[in-house]
């Protein structure tokens, strides 16, 4: 049976290393695509294997998909001398824990027929077509993950995880003008999540917004009060709080690729914005796309304040970065598959809701912009200089939402964004994403979200 070598592996590696851990992971995923009214194909992928880490004078992983003990042992033996060469070798060790956890499903992935999956994709493609979307792609996906983690100190964690996702991209093209939209939703659950989303209404609203954008005027550049919707507060929380507080980035571990952090070299706590701003990363949020009870290094997950009332608070730590910081790991070690090292990663990252009603945010605005959702976005590698282009956006005059505007652009920096926030509403919504980091690139499942928030006197173009 796949995975049954896990205890034999850790028994062997415990005798040849200062610390070792082993993780078996199997991932079975299915996906269906519909494009412009045509069924495009169905894919079913199964992958599994062992990630075995040895720590001696330096650290090394061997990843093997073999289930033959003699072969696995020979791969470990080949790795061993490479851990005798010099390099970094700090890693946090914890009091042993034994536990198992799983994701609950109501409408189980394994019970979903091919026809039911196809109908979801086909139905949304048809709806978009009927609404006037000229180009369309719809993807439905699910995966079942089985994981067994062991370390040389005696920790043993077993997990069964189910995740469901839906992704679309579509565009409207009229009178030579084009507007496009993408959306991603996901959950650690069964297919009941898609039923709960109200996708039809979301898509109707999205197409309506794009069609109205086609003839909307551009924004006159200048300073405005800005109200951002949950989709934007979510991406900002992810990009300019979650990423820069990954401690492996702060200490340079990801410097060649994903980059360092604007927090590198700073003294903490460091002021990042107004006291209206707190940002949380919480892997324990059930049904979230990034939900887990134990991380991929056997560490109990817990909620973390990354920014609290305008200052940095905790960092996201995996075992390696926690050892360098000299603190306990806090459950941030995640890996996208069996053949990837665990890095310090986000789960569900969101701006903490405040006390205001949404209407109250608008009431205080004389000349402003309401940017409800975004299209293009990016941020520099220290997570400071960022850009968000509005998708569904409106002018706000004397507290009232007025006409649409087309693709207003907020191009600012992290400190200015968070320092400009003077009010945060009490609502909270999430979207899903695949967060990229590492080499090879690892996309891990996350939620990002937040409430409506108001920024004062910020430059838009």
């Amino acid at each position: 049976m796949a995975g049954e070598l896990i205890d034999q592996i850790i028994s062997y590696t415990s005798g040849i290393s200062n610390f070792s851990d082993a993780r078996f992971m199997s991932v079975g995923s299915k996906g269906i695509a519909y494009r412009n009214g045509e069924f495009e194909g169905m894919e079913s992928s199964d992958t599994s294997g062992y990630a075995i880490r040895l720590v001696n004078d330096s650290m090394a992983f061997v990843y093997t998909d073999s289930e033959d003990w003699t072969e696995v042992r020979s791969k470990i033996d080949l790795l061993l001398p490479k851990t005798r060469r010099h390099g970094k070798n700090k890693i946090s060790e914890i009091k042993p824990v034994k536990a198992s956890w799983k994701v609950d499903q109501k409408k189980k992935i394994e019970d979903m027929s091919i026809e039911e999956r196809i109908e979801i994709a086909r139905g949304h493609d048809k709806l978009l077509d009927d609404l006037g979307a000229t180009v369309r792609m719809n993807f439905i996906g699910d995966k079942k993950i089985s994981q067994h983690y062991r370390d040389s100190d005696g920790t043993a964690i077993d997990a069964e995880i189910s995740r469901v996702s839906y992704y679309y991209v579509f565009g409207v093209f009229e009178n030579g003008q084009f507007e496009q939209s993408t959306g991603q939703f996901g959950s650690s659950s069964g297919y009941e999540y898609l039923d709960s989303l109200g996708l039809d209404e979301r898509l109707r609203s999205e197409v309506r917004a794009l069609r109205e954008n086609l003839s909307a005027p551009a924004l006159k550049p200048g300073k405005y009060d800005l109200i951002v919707g949950p989709e934007i507060s979510g991406i900002v929380a992810h990009e300019s709080c979650g990423h820069p507080t990954e401690y492996d980035r702060i200490i340079g571990r990801e410097g060649a690729l994903a980059g360092e952090s604007f927090l590198t070299g700073k003294e903490f706590p460091y002021r990042i914005g107004s006291d209206a701003v707190s940002v949380i990363d919480d892997p324990t949020m059930k049904m979230s796309y990034g939900f887990y009870e134990y991380d991929d290094e056997g560490i109990r997950a817990r909620k973390r304040y990354l920014y609290r009332k305008g200052y940095t608070d905790e960092f996201i730590l995996n075992r390696e970065s926690a050892a360098i910081l000299g603190k306990e790991p806090n459950g941030g070690g995640r890996s996208s598959s069996w053949n990837m090292e665990p890095l310090a990663r986000m789960s569900t990252t969101y701006i903490e809701p405040g006390e205001h009603e949404i209407d109250e945010l608008f009431e205080g605005v004389k000349n402003g912009v309401y940017m409800k959702s975004f299209t293009e976005w990016n941020i520099d590698d220290i997570r400071f200089n960022e850009k968000y282009v509005g998708k569904e956006s409106y002018l706000v005059e004397n507290g009232k939402v007025k006409g649409r505007i087309r693709r207003p652009t907020l191009e600012t920096n992290t400190i200015k964004f968070y320092s400009s926030i003077d009010a945060v509403a009490r609502d909270l919504e999430f979207t899903a994403g695949s967060c990229g980091k590492g080499e090879p690139m690892q996309g891990v499942d996350v939620w990002m979200g937040g409430p409506h928030a108001r920024l004062r006197d910020i430059y838009l173009k």
Binding site: F39, T64, L79, H86, T134, Q180, A256, E376, N378
Partner: protein
């Protein structure tokens, strides 16, 4: 009987019309470093089978890892084929009998990655860099393909070295790949590290960049990033989907006449080397844009049938893709291009390229790892906080010069294996943060 043959036989007995099996077995070593010392060594041993099959226009795909999964996964595949709708855009796989000749590389040279990385770090330190981060790869793999019409295999791989050096907050980077033909001892890691270090040191006095239209000398990494992110627009799949800025432009001018873009998977100096595509069509050098004129889209057999063109050997059966893009080199040297610049920017690298409009190719990307102001042929300062906010077609049409030097560029997910020169682009829209 080999596993591939067993999969094939079983699918044939199940009554499938067409079958494509790709088996890739790999042995990959990677070493990562930061703060001038080793972080981690990763060693992968993997084997995977991708199995595509069709009956009429019904098609499905599974991947599996081992012999023991064959019965389960192929029964699942048959169940999928029995129940999925037809794909009206699927016209089969390439049925022509192919002759591949001697392809691939008999062996990949062995190198000590730790020594390689330490040499690169030393080069950067000698150049004055405070710290460097990076990684190196040694890749060896065997690719076996069996289709309803053809069988082929080759061994491939190569090496990669990435180093990013820091001087304060200033950075410089080199990120090169070496195809299966590379020789042991031929990688001058110290020189590569020195180059990254020198760039980091020369950019250490940084000021906020300005908005406006600028002449920009793009390094192989920057233009490699833009070409990599936009290469899918040259796939017929994107054109057919209605999401390509090159749709409807076949035979028309899409760039200035100094620009010629080739997909060249047979160049063994690069790790993008690949002798056949996912359905067994031999790959070849394809001129996609020639002196500014769009000559062809990348095609599989199926997309070619749909669009009335021949396959270009770029399958992905459903979505053709580039293997190893190359911009044909020009006549000027990099030094002469800098020297001839009156007022502009030299940008070494960029990341986070994102599109707000696929149909018009409108995007922005964030410069990094060396962003310099140039006045009268001299570097006069280093800038940050800017963004290229433009369109693919706008940039291609404004290319006014191409260097005679090229680099084998590959970097993370941002730059696919490619062979790129320095490119001068007039009137690039630069935006900045406020």
């Amino acid at each position: 009987m080999e596993t591939v043959d067993r999969i094939y036989e079983k699918l044939s007995r199940m009554g499938m019309d067409e079958i494509v099996i790709n088996e890739v077995s790999s042995d990959i070593e990677q070493l990562r470093f930061s703060l001038n010392s080793r972080d981690l060594l990763n060693q992968w041993y993997e084997n995977e089978y991708s199995v595509f099959t069709s009956r009429g226009r019904r098609m499905a795909e599974v991947t599996l890892k081992s012999e023991s999964e064959i019965d389960t996964k192929l029964n699942e595949l048959k169940n999928m084929i029995d129940r999925v709708p037809e794909n009206p855009s699927f016209f089969g796989i390439n049925p022509a009998k192919q002759y591949y000749g001697n392809v691939g590389s008999p062996s990949i040279a062995d190198i000590d990655l730790q020594d390689l990385c330490e040499s690169a770090i030393n080069g950067a330190v000698e150049a004055g860099a405070e710290r460097s981060a990076g990684l190196a790869y040694l890749v060896k793999f065997k690719h076996v393909l069996k289709t309803s019409y053809n069988e082929a295999e080759y061994s491939g791989g190569g090496a990669e070295l990435v180093i990013r050096s820091f001087s304060g907050t200033s950075t410089g980077q080199e990120s090169l790949h070496f195809g299966p033909a590379f020789k042991a001892g031929s990688i001058d890691a110290e020189s590569i590290g020195r180059s990254a270090g020198e760039m980091a040191v020369s950019g250490k006095d940084i000021s906020q960049g300005e908005e406006g239209r600028f002449k920009v000398l793009m390094s192989p990494y920057l233009i490699g990033n833009i070409i990599s992110s936009s290469s899918e627009f040259l796939s017929y799949y994107a054109v057919d989907s209605g999401m390509s800025c090159f749709a409807g432009k076949l035979g028309y001018r899409v760039s200035s006449d100094v620009f010629t873009l080739v997909d060249d998977p047979l160049d063994m100096t690069g790790v993008g080397y690949r002798p056949f595509d996912d359905e067994g069509t031999p790959t070849r050098s394809n001129v996609l844009i020639e002196n500014g004129i769009l000559k062809k889209y990348m095609q599989s057999y199926s997309t070619g049938k749909k669009s009335g063109y021949e396959t270009t050997g770029n399958a992905g059966i459903i979505a053709p893709a580039a293997w190893q893009m190359r911009i044909e080199s020009g006549k000027e040297s990099f030094r002469d291009m800098i020297a001839g610049m009156k007022d502009g920017l030299f940008i070494n690298n960029a990341w986070y390229t994102r599109y707000q409009d696929y149909k018009n190719g409108i995007f922005s990307t964030v410069p990094r790892d060396g962003v310099f102001r140039i006045h009268n042929g001299e570097i006069t300062g280093s800038v940050s906080g800017i963004r290229i906010s433009d369109s693919v077609t706008g940039i291609l049409k404004n290319i006014s010069g191409v260097s005679n030097e090229t680099k084998n560029t590959k970097w993370w997910e941002e730059i696919q294996p490619s062979i790129m020169p320095y490119v001068m682009v007039d009137s690039v829209n630069i935006s900045r943060s406020f």
